[in-house]
Every structure is written in structure tokens, then in C-alpha cells.
């Protein structure tokens, strides 16, 4: 079975599965020594690592990138110039309140379907799509490495055990950033809400069973399009979602993580701080080496002292 790689949560794995292809959410490690895109001042290292890891994967038959941020839109330009793997740019609207924006997303999914067929997938099969959506709902997984473990490989919540309950909020994490969870635990914290893109925030809500049976693609599109993110305009839904999740999780503080050149998340920090009624620690990561352990540990430790 051919494998289609993607990383953005707005790419529905179920839709790829409905074409008889394997969806793999590729969260970059990043793989050492790859340099399809060299390190460039000003470029988000997650976007760069994603392309480099795609280029280094020899079992990927196609790759789907989205327009959710400028760096991804730009690395797509280089990806198609430098990597032979067929690539598709999915236009995910930033606005979400109009029917036209929702329609555009649905049309883009259909266009993605045509790309998948060109790559050797079959025409989308309604039953297969329903099955994939139900599997997702049951946590059985269509994301290649076992959903939702594709995300949990990075971290995920540890709702039991000791430590000060904390929320981790931000953009995506790379696989090697999972060390962050250990650092937090070592310093006396416990992540009860992983609101990163590679955590719970990147998982779409439950599907409506009735609508799923009637028009699964429409239901899929609506569920994915509702995912909250800093990049939506306006991004009020992110704060609405966070409000609910923070209350449910019982987090006492927030650790806010972003990569250095990620404008969309970086800009959110000050607002989140004003908005949240909780202490917030910001960790900005260069992402181009193991997390600066000493610095991170010291900062997390100092933050944890506030809770004593």
C-alpha cells in the first residue's frame, strides 16, 4: 500500500484511507544530516525539518502540505523543485465563518482526492471512508503508525500521577522535543492538557453518527475545518476551545511552546498571557538541536517554584 505523508492536522487521514492509501502523519524527528532545505535565517525549523524528513523517507509516495502558514507555503515551493516525490498543496482557508470558506475546504478535499487517484489510489469509497472515520472515533487508527499514537509519540497528556497539573500550548512539536515532557515531569510538573498541534488540539472532535452515515465527506470536512488553531482568522475558536479544555483538565499553569520563526504562534504569547488566568511560561525553541536542556530545565524549574 502506498504511503502519503502529511503533517498538518487539517489533512484528514480518513480521506486518504478512503482512497486505499496509507496516511502517515509525519512529525519530523528531524533526521540528522538531511539538507534538502539548508538552515536559513528566518525559516521555521519545523517546516524545514518536515521537508527534509520527507526527502529522506524512501517509502513515501506522495506528500500533502497545507497553506496554513507562510513557511509551509514557501517550503512547498522548494519541495516541488528539489524532491521527486509528488506533492500537493491543500488550500486551507484561514477564515472559517463563511459558507464559502467551508465550501472551499470541501472542494480542496475533492481536489486532493483527484491527486490521490493520480498517485494510484482508487476513487474514494464511501463505505471505506465511513469505516475509517469510525476507526478514528474508536481510536483504532488510520494515521499509519496507529492513531492517535502518531501524535502521542511526541508527548500527550499524562492525566494520572503526581506533579503540578500543567497545560502545554503551542504549535507542533518535533519528535525529539518529547524530552520536554520528561523535563517537566522531573521538575515536578505533569501535562494534563497537550494543546499543541501534535497533541490533543490537532485531533478533530467526534463525528456526528447520523451525518456520517448520510454524507461522510461533508461530515469529515466540517469536523476537520473546526479544528482550532492560532492561524484561523479570527482565532477566537482557539480561545474558546482552550477555555473549555483548561477548565476540564484542571491545569494550574501553561507552558507555551513555539519555534523561533513561527510568527503565528509567537504573536499569540502576549495575548494568551493577558487572557489566561493562569501563570504562563514561554519556551521558544530553535528546534535545530536537542532542546537546550540546561536552559529549558532551569526555566521550567523556576516556573514550577511559583506553585510551591
Amino acid at each position: 500500500m502506498k504511503t502519503i505523508a502529511y503533517t498538518c492536522p487539517y489533512v484528514p487521514a480518513e480521506w486518504i484511507a478512503a482512497h486505499g492509501l496509507r496516511a502517515r502523519r509525519l512529525v519530523p524527528l528531524p533526521i540528522e544530516g538531511t539538507s534538502t532545505i539548508p538552515r536559513i535565517e528566518g525559516l521555521c525549523l519545523y517546516a524545514r525539518a518536515f521537508v527534509n524528513d520527507v526527502a529522506a523517507s524512501d517509502d513515501v509516495s506522495g506528500v500533502v502540505v497545507t497553506t496554513m502558514c507562510d513557511p509551509m507555503r514557501r517550503v512547498f515551493d522548494l519541495l516541488v523543485r528539489r524532491v521527486d516525490t509528488p506533492a500537493f498543496l491543500l488550500n486551507v482557508p484561514s477564515t472559517w465563518q463563511t459558507v464559502a470558506a467551508q465550501r472551499l475546504y470541501l472542494d480542496e478535499l475533492k481536489r486532493l482526492g483527484r491527486f490521490l487517484v493520480r498517485l494510484g489510489g482508487h476513487e474514494p469509497d464511501k463505505e471505506e471512508l465511513i469505516r475509517a472515520m469510525l476507526d478514528q472515533a474508536h481510536g483504532n487508527g488510520v494515521h499509519g503508525t496507529g492513531f492517535p499514537n502518531a501524535m502521542n509519540r511526541v508527548g500527550g497528556p499524562t492525566p494520572y500521577g503526581h506533579g503540578v497539573p500543567l497545560a502545554l500550548v503551542g504549535g507542533p512539536l518535533m519528535l525529539r522535543d518529547r524530552v520536554l515532557f520528561d523535563v517537566i515531569a522531573d521538575c515536578g510538573g505533569r501535562i494534563v492538557l497537550d494543546a499543541t498541534e501534535t497533541g490533543q488540539r490537532g485531533v478533530c472532535g467526534p463525528f456526528d453518527r447520523r451525518r456520517l452515515a448520510e454524507d461522510p465527506l461533508m461530515e469529515l470536512a466540517q469536523a476537520y475545518f473546526r479544528l482550532p488553531d492560532a492561524s484561523r482568522r479570527p482565532n477566537s475558536e482557539l480561545y474558546r476551545w482552550l477555555k473549555d479544555q483548561l477548565a476540564q483538565s484542571g491545569a494550574h499553569g501553561i507552558i507555551f511552546h513555539h519555534y523561533v520563526w513561527c510568527d503565528k504562534w509567537r504573536a499569540e504569547f502576549a495575548r494568551l498571557k493577558e487572557w489566561a488566568n493562569l501563570p504562563v511560561l514561554r519556551l521558544d525553541s530553535e528546534g535545530d538541536g536537542p532542546i537546550d536542556m540546561v536552559r529549558t530545565r532551569n526555566r521550567v524549574r523556576a516556573f514550577m517554584e511559583m506553585f510551591q
Binding site: 528566518g42 514557501r74 464559502a100 472551499l104
Partner: protein
């Protein structure tokens, strides 16, 4: 006036202004000596060199009095529309309604340069979490907070989607501070697929018809908001009239650019040409006056070309410039180093293209919005640059990076790759912060080296 053109300092301009006054030369209402703007804090003006024509004086005074114009418009009962991240589409609609004035809050981009970072706007942006990792447009946030550089508009629109993250993030921060924004979506322009109907756009790009229809529906939402604000409807005829007027501005600019980039001697310096091009985006808050200003400039240029006068020498290195410079002084540097501008792509090439007049007006605006070089791929943009490089016979390309800009990290690499491949020209990438004083020797050396490369290639 047909004197030999010279680049003069602000002080020289003020002396000259006095002499002109005694000779009874008339000025528009916003006219006056340039030096008075320094008293308002625009200290960078002291470091620039200006074209010595009355047409250039009018251009500068027009540019530097926009805030007064906006306040006067409000006092006169007009409604103000801030058209953010919109390079030449919504203003065309706004100016088709007689009681609206559109302006471009993003223009605050140049305040850190013009006021030599003394305005405090960047510090305000810093305090709001928008630090130097964002492009200089973050000054806009400070301008909204202080309310001192432009009046707070009655309606704020902002295009999002295939736009830079810098602006999108800053506009969202502004929204979070309580400024309502009408967001409209501009999708990433893509090539039509085999089964899709293709539409040829201005600037030689193409897009699927479905994308045009989508953008048109987005612009309809904006139009409704403008009509509500204006209290009048905007019919197809009035809009067609607005488009025709915008096209007149674009036509004047096309003439100017053609002469400035192709005449044997450069008839108008790079700095004045940059300012002139910017007028096409939003008409500096007065569309009629924009036309007069550009007409005068064009007359001056025509006279100079006819008289065979101009700047530097006929063998100045012919440079195509990509992206606007955050420090205006750098345009002077290029000429100091033996170069001249022969072609530009200042991020808004589509605002210079004629808006189609053979299709219904809203569809035409959707086409022009999608023709924005920044909403497509960098490769598309590079192809347009290559065509213009050939048209104007440029011998080198400079891609000037804007510090912090999300698109700048990679686009230079792609544009450079394609330009070298297609034209075999030298490409220089430089970064221009709002104030280049500390780095000007290095910058000049790099520009000189590029000019030398051009000269060496000629002698080969």
C-alpha cells in the same frame, strides 16, 4: 520646468523652495518646504537626496501630508476605511463611493525609517509581544495604539489566507486589542488542473475559474460592508468608473516606469520612482490628486527624455530591484554606486497592471486580487520577474530582504535560482533594515561589487 536634473539634500531643497517662492511659483494646498516635515519628527528626510524638480517636491509633499488629509476627510464627514494587506483592490471599490476614503495602515511600515526609530511605535509593538522577529509593519500596531499617525478608521478590512504570517499575526493581535476587522480570504493562487476552466490573469498568471469566483464572493462581502458604511449602494456602473480611474493611475505609472527604466539617461531617481509606484496601492488617500501628481511627474520625465538629460551616465549598471527597502536611503546608495533601476517588483506588481475592463467589474477586481505576485508561488513570482528583467533589459537583480518577513527566508533562493537559470544574470541578496547607518559601508561595498560584476560582464 526643464532644468538639468540634480539630486539635492533637504536643506538645498528648502533654499531652492524659498527662491521659487520669491519667483511666485505656486504650490498645492499641501505644498511647502520639505524641511517642515523634519519638525514633525521625520528626521530621516535629512539623510536623503531628492530630485530637484517641482514635480518631485509635489510628490514628496503629497506623501508626507497623508495624515492631515485623512483628518480633513473625517472632519468633512467622510468615512475612513483602513484596507489592510490589500494592495490595490478594496481601495478601488472604496474610491468608487464618494463619501469613503481608503488608506493603507500597513504604510506605517516606513515610519521607523522616516522617523529614525524615534516614534516609539516599535517599542509599543514590543510591549504587545510583536518583537523584531516580525517585519517592520509591526509599527502599525503602535500607530493604532497611539492614534497619532493616522485616525482610527471607521472600517478595517484585512485580506488573509495566502498572505504573509507577519501581517496576519499582527492584524490578529490588533483584533485582540478590540479593533473589529472584516477578514476576507485570498486563497493561494494555483495553476488550473486539466479538468478546470482556466482564466488568464493580469501579469500573465492563470488560475482556475473557481478561485476567481471564490475571491469575487469574498469581495462582494467587502463591498456590502463598504456600502453599509457609505450609506449608498455601489452599482456596476459606478464601480466600472472607479476601475477606469484606477486604470488611469496605472497607465500614468506604466508610462513613467517605461521611460524611467528604458531612457538612455535615467530621467527620475529610484527613490522618487518608488514613492510614485506606491501611490497606485491606495492613492495616498486622494485619488484625484494622485493623478495630478503623477501627471506632473510624467511631464517632467517626458521633458527630460526629450532633452536628453538625466542622471548618472548612459552606462550605469541596469538593476532590477525586488521588494521594497525598509530604509529609503538605500535607493540613493544604488545610484551612488553606479547603478540605476531598470525594473522593479516591490511586492505589488499587480497594483500596476491594468484592471480588466472587458469583464464585469467585481470579477475584474477578483482577477486583479488573485494576480498578486505574493499570493502564488515564489516560482510564479520569479517567472514574472524574469519577463520584466527581459523587457527592461536589466543586467543584474537585487533581492532585498525585509528583516523578519516570513516570505523572505526562502523566496530569494527560489527567485535567484530561476533568474540565474533563465537569464544568466548576477543576483545579489541583501537585507535592508529600517535604518542602515551602521551597515552602510558593507551595503555600499556589496552594491559596488555588483556594479563591477555588471561592467566586467559587458567587457567580456
Amino acid at each position: 520646468m526643464n532644468e538639468a536634473p540634480r539630486q539635492i539634500t533637504l536643506r538645498e531643497w528648502d533654499d531652492r523652495y524659498e527662491r521659487l517662492q520669491t519667483r511666485g511659483v505656486r504650490q498645492p494646498v499641501y505644498g511647502g518646504p520639505l524641511g517642515r516635515h523634519v519638525a514633525d519628527g521625520d528626521t530621516r528626510l535629512l539623510k536623503l537626496r531628492y530630485d530637484s524638480s517641482l514635480a518631485a517636491l509635489r510628490l514628496w509633499n503629497f506623501l508626507l501630508t497623508e495624515e492631515d488629509r485623512l483628518r480633513a476627510a473625517r472632519d468633512a464627514g467622510k468615512k475612513l476605511v483602513g484596507t489592510m494587506k490589500d494592495l490595490g483592490t478594496v481601495p478601488v471599490m472604496a474610491y468608487s463611493l464618494d463619501n469613503l476614503v481608503a488608506f493603507y495602515p500597513d504604510g506605517a511600515w516606513w515610519i521607523p525609517c522616516v522617523m529614525e526609530v524615534n516614534s516609539g511605535l516599535l517599542q509599543i509593538a514590543d510591549s504587545l509581544g510583536i518583537d523584531e522577529s516580525f517585519c517592520p509593519v509591526r509599527a502599525m500596531l503602535g500607530a493604532f495604539v497611539t492614534g497619532t499617525h493616522f485616525p482610527i478608521p471607521d472600517l478595517l478590512t484585512c485580506s488573509v489566507g495566502a498572505t504573509c504570517d507577519d501581517f496576519s499575526a499582527i492584524a490578529q493581535r490588533l483584533n485582540g486589542l478590540g479593533h473589529p476587522i472584516l477578514w476576507w480570504e485570498i486563497p493561494h493562487r494555483r495553476a488550473p488542473e486539466v479538468e478546470e476552466e482556466a482564466v488568464q490573469l493580469p501579469g500573465d498568471f492563470s488560475a482556475p475559474k473557481g478561485q476567481i469566483e471564490f475571491v469575487q464572493s469574498e469581495l462582494e462581502r467587502v463591498k456590502t460592508a463598504l456600502e453599509d458604511l457609505a450609506g449608498q449602494s455601489l452599482g456596476a456602473e459606478a464601480l466600472a468608473g472607479g476601475i477606469a480611474k484606477a486604470n488611469h493611475v496605472r497607465w500614468l505609472l506604466a508610462q513613467l516606469r517605461h521611460l524611467a527604466f528604458t531612457a538612455t539617461l535615467c530621467p527620475m531617481p529610484a527613490l522618487e520612482m518608488l514613492i510614485a509606484e506606491m501611490l497606485a496601492i491606495h492613492f495616498c488617500s486622494d485619488q484625484d490628486e494622485t493623478i495630478v501628481v503623477l501627471q506632473e511627474l510624467l511631464e517632467e520625465v517626458n521633458l527630460r527624455v526629450a532633452a536628453g538629460t538625466g542622471y548618472s551616465s548612459a552606462d550605469a549598471a541596469r538593476v532590477f530591484w525586488v521588494n521594497p527597502v525598509a530604509d529609503l536611503q538605500v535607493m540613493n546608495f544604488l545610484e551612488d554606486c553606479g547603478g540605476r533601476i531598470c525594473g522593479t517588483e516591490y511586492l505589488f506588481a499587480h497594483a500596476l497592471d491594468p484592471i480588466p475592463q472587458t469583464v464585469p467589474p467585481m470579477e475584474a477586481l477578483a482577477q486583479i486580487a488573485l494576480a498578486d505576485p505574493m499570493v502564488g508561488s515564489a516560482a510564479d513570482r520569479a517567472v514574472r520577474i524574469v519577463a520584466e528583467v527581459r523587457r527592461f533589459g536589466a543586467e543584474a537583480v537585487i533581492v532585498s530582504r525585509i528583516p523578519g518577513a516570513s516570505h523572505c527566508a526562502l523566496e530569494g533562493e527560489i527567485i535567484g535560482e530561476i533568474v540565474r537559470q533563465e537569464c544568466g544574470l548576477p543576483v545579489l541578496e541583501i537585507e535592508v533594515p529600517p535604518l542602515t547607518d551602521a551597515m552602510s559601508p558593507t551595503l555600499r561595498t556589496r552594491l559596488e561589487a555588483l556594479v563591477e560584476t555588471v561592467e566586467n560582464r559587458r567587457s567580456r
